[in-house]
Amino acid sequence: MIIKNKTIVDDDWTILRLAQNETAKNVMVPAGKIIVPLKVWLEQREQLLDRNELGVWIASDERPEMLKDDLDKFTVIAVDFPKFSDGRGYSIAYYLRARFGYTGELRAIGDVLRDQMFYLQRVGFDAFAPRPDRNIQDALKGLTDFSEVYQASVDKKMPLFRRVQRNGNAVDN
């Protein structure tokens, strides 16, 4: 189960993570709906291009530019959070959406917890795979912690001061 477009849905994608004895070059990518590491995509691009549906995931220390010209090749792009305090994934998502114009599914995977959900959604994630030991219903609640925000990001193209009429102090007098 994952959260997608603010609802809990079944998920039939499998995330491929390299085992210790595997390399991006030699790993066998199973058939079916697989989300492969960016490194595997870069190494096995020719074979993987034949697939109907393919996903790719990017690690927090990898560069989103590596995917810039291939965005249309994937049904899903995932960003891995090795631990929730690693905030690089937020900027990766921002680049994919705001700078490179990716419009497909953008999924947060790894150490994804309820209290990051609101921020993740703001920078462009529309799918979330919360940590499996946690209640996914609870995680869903994290998406609605706030009903208003100050800054522009991927979800709101305009900051609050350009979206609403805010009255200054002089109006009261």
Binding site: D86, G87, R88
Partner: protein, 578 residues
């Protein structure tokens, strides 16, 4: 001052609900401590030695008397009748229970306050000049920009999990009173030759274990671009700042590693995509926010003496107070008054609930109901009529708030130190107390003149030790013994510099004698009215070093030092030192 509108209030109210739920989940063990830790830290809640400490944001150090009275209420209801004002213009309460914190936040929200981002690896409270809006040397009022940046940085979705904490300071006067060069980003609001407003932008300054003076990344950034330019800096930092070593994770290390030119190239490259976009500040928004920072209704008073000269001549204490604690206002019939939280025998920056109420009464009666917190841990009433100074002084003195020591030796900056903080190697407050007691003579202090003595219990430098004219840093030796390093020549403001360590460290009891010897060298070497820092700059640290280490300093040379006993607390020491 700025007042919340429906949007600000809604966001803060929703924050209280979110945080209340986080605490509920922690108390029911749904959240492990490890997961709760970054959440509570983003809310300024630290686990200290005796209890939790809650740090509350005072945006750019400006608060109303209603807000100050709320602090007094919090001190009485949830703490031990006092609070500690910090070098980042905030307040901390040291004896807090976790289960009370949601109610404290709700109390704060009722007076337009919060504890959002007062800790954690995110953008912290924006600090500014404590005399903003009234200083005689002000070029541009920095407060509207500080408020605009407060809103921009509040719950910024992309920059909540940075490599490390991130501090921004804004100053708009000739004299930098906000220590902008030792912040991750320092902004100096100024005017160019055409009279247009913009910012000189410093980046990569900071204290801590690698103190560095910030570099200028942009000489003149037109005001419209302040948010997009900072966003560009933060985005580069968020991606490339080091995350493998907590001690090398601040932006200063990245700037140093890349060099300012390469760092600037990366920032400007990023900025090119943001410039003139939606994040560009509009004059409507600037005007809206500025409308909250208009001058109060000053009375039109003839600039007369109001009997001050004659009262000064008959009252030496008042004369000293006028000289040290009263600063020039841009309206000559008004004055800026600094209320000292540095009375000898008290912890620097501490104020009792009773004192907070007294200050609130003073501000209501004499200063339009507002006050400021300074990064030197004192309080400021910015708009006092000259003719009210005598009355105000009498009330302040009765409340132990009129020590005439602003900028003098006993105006010590001190962190809470090892009595409270799990990071500290050594105690700070007791050391500040023994130093203040040793040099309690005001005649002596006035003779020594302007000097900044800063104490931190560890290298993290919350007490600004590395930019103290005299800096004292707690260092650990084997078996948790307390030892202190002494540095000289640090300074913040327009001529920022990092102090140099004079040599091997000293025990607690030796430090007052070390200070004594340093001051003796100053008195010997100074030329006329030369300030301490200028003498150090001119002669270097060598003569000080020679004199300090010339003969052995025996522990407990002074009887009163020997008699000193560390604070005793009733709470058990349950917190692990992590």
């Amino acid at each position: 001052m700025y007042r919340y509108d429906q949007y600000d209030q809604q966001i803060v109210n929703e924050r209280v609900a979110q945080y209340r739920d986080q605490v509920r989940r922690r108390l029911s063990n749904e959240l492990a401590e490890e997961e709760f830790r970054p959440l509570r830290l983003q809310n300024g809640l630290y686990m200290q030695i005796h209890a939790y400490m809650l740090r509350i944001a005072v945006p750019y150090g400006l608060l109303s008397t209603t807000q100050l009275r709320m602090f007094a209420h919090i001190a009485r209801k949830y703490d031990r009748d006092y609070g500690h004002f910090t070098t980042r213009q905030n307040i901390q309460f040291n004896w807090i229970k976790l289960e009370d914190t949601p109610d404290i936040l709700a109390d704060l929200a009722s007076v337009e306050m919060h504890a959002i981002q007062t800790s954690g690896n995110c953008i912290r409270n924006i600090t500014s000049d404590e005399f903003a809006g009234v200083a005689a040397d002000e070029v541009v009022d920095p407060r509207p920009y500080a408020e605009i940046l407060r809103q921009w940085s509040t719950f910024h979705p992309e920059f909540a999990y940075l490599p490390r904490k991130f501090k921004i300071a804004v100053s708009g006067a000739e004299e930098d009173r906000a220590a902008i060069a030792v912040h991750d980003i320092g902004l100096s609001v100024r005017k160019n030759t055409q009279g247009e407003v913009g910012f000189r932008v410093f980046v990569g300054g900071g204290l801590g274990r690698t103190p560095i003076i910030g570099k200028v990344i942009c000489e003149f950034l037109p005001w419209q671009h302040v948010m997009t330019y900072i966003e560009a800096i933060l985005r580069v930092y968020n991606q490339y700042g080091r995350r493998d070593n907590i001690y090398k994770a601040r932006i200063k290390i990245l700037v140093k590693a890349l060099g300012i030119e390469e760092f600037k190239r990366q920032v400007e490259n990023e900025w090119a995509a943001l410039k003139d976009g939606a994040g560009t500040l509009t004059s409507e928004e600037l005007n809206r926010v500025s409308s909250y920072f208009t001058a109060p209704a000053y009375e039109n008073i003839a600039d007369t003496d109001s009997g001050l000269t004659s009262f000064k001549s008959e009252n030496k204490a008042f004369a000293s107070w006028m000289q040290r604690n009263v600063k020039p206002h841009r309206i000559p019939s008004y004055a800026i008054v600094v209320l000292s939280l540095k009375k000898t025998g008290r912890a620097p920056g501490d104020a009792s609930a009773e004192q907070m109420d007294a200050v609130a009464d003073l501000a209501d009666r004499f200063s339009f109901g507002e006050l400021r917190i300074t990064h030197k841990q004192n309080l400021v009433l910015t708009d006092v009529k000259q003719s009210d100074l005598i009355t105000l002084w009498k009330i302040a003195a009765a409340n132990n708030l009129a020590s005439p020591n602003i900028g003098l030796l006993s105006d010590i900056i001190s962190c809470p130190g090892a009595e409270f903080c799990t990071l500290a190697n050594a105690r700070s407050i007791p050391l500040a107390k023994v130093i203040a007691e040793r040099f309690d003579s005001l005649d002596f202090q006035h003779d020594i003149g302007e000097i900044e003595l800063n104490i931190s219990g560890c290298m993290n430098a919350c007490g600004h030790n590395s930019v103290g004219h005299i800096g004292i840093t707690g260092v650990e030796k084997k078996d948790h013994e307390e030892w202190y390093q002494v540095s000289l020549g640090g300074s913040k403001g327009n001529e920022s510099s990092i102090g140099k360590i004079i040599g091997p460290s000293f025990s607690f009891d030796q430090v007052p004698e070390v200070i004594e010897r340093i001051l003796q060298v100053y008195c010997r070497e100074r030329i006329e009215a030369e300030r301490f820092i200028d003498t150090v700059r001119r002669v270097g640290i060598k003569p000080f070093k020679e004199s300090v280490y010339a003969t052995e300093i025996t522990d407990g040379q002074e009887d009163d030092v020997l008699a000193f006993k560390p604070a005793q607390y009733s709470e058990p020491l349950y917190s692990p030192r992590f």
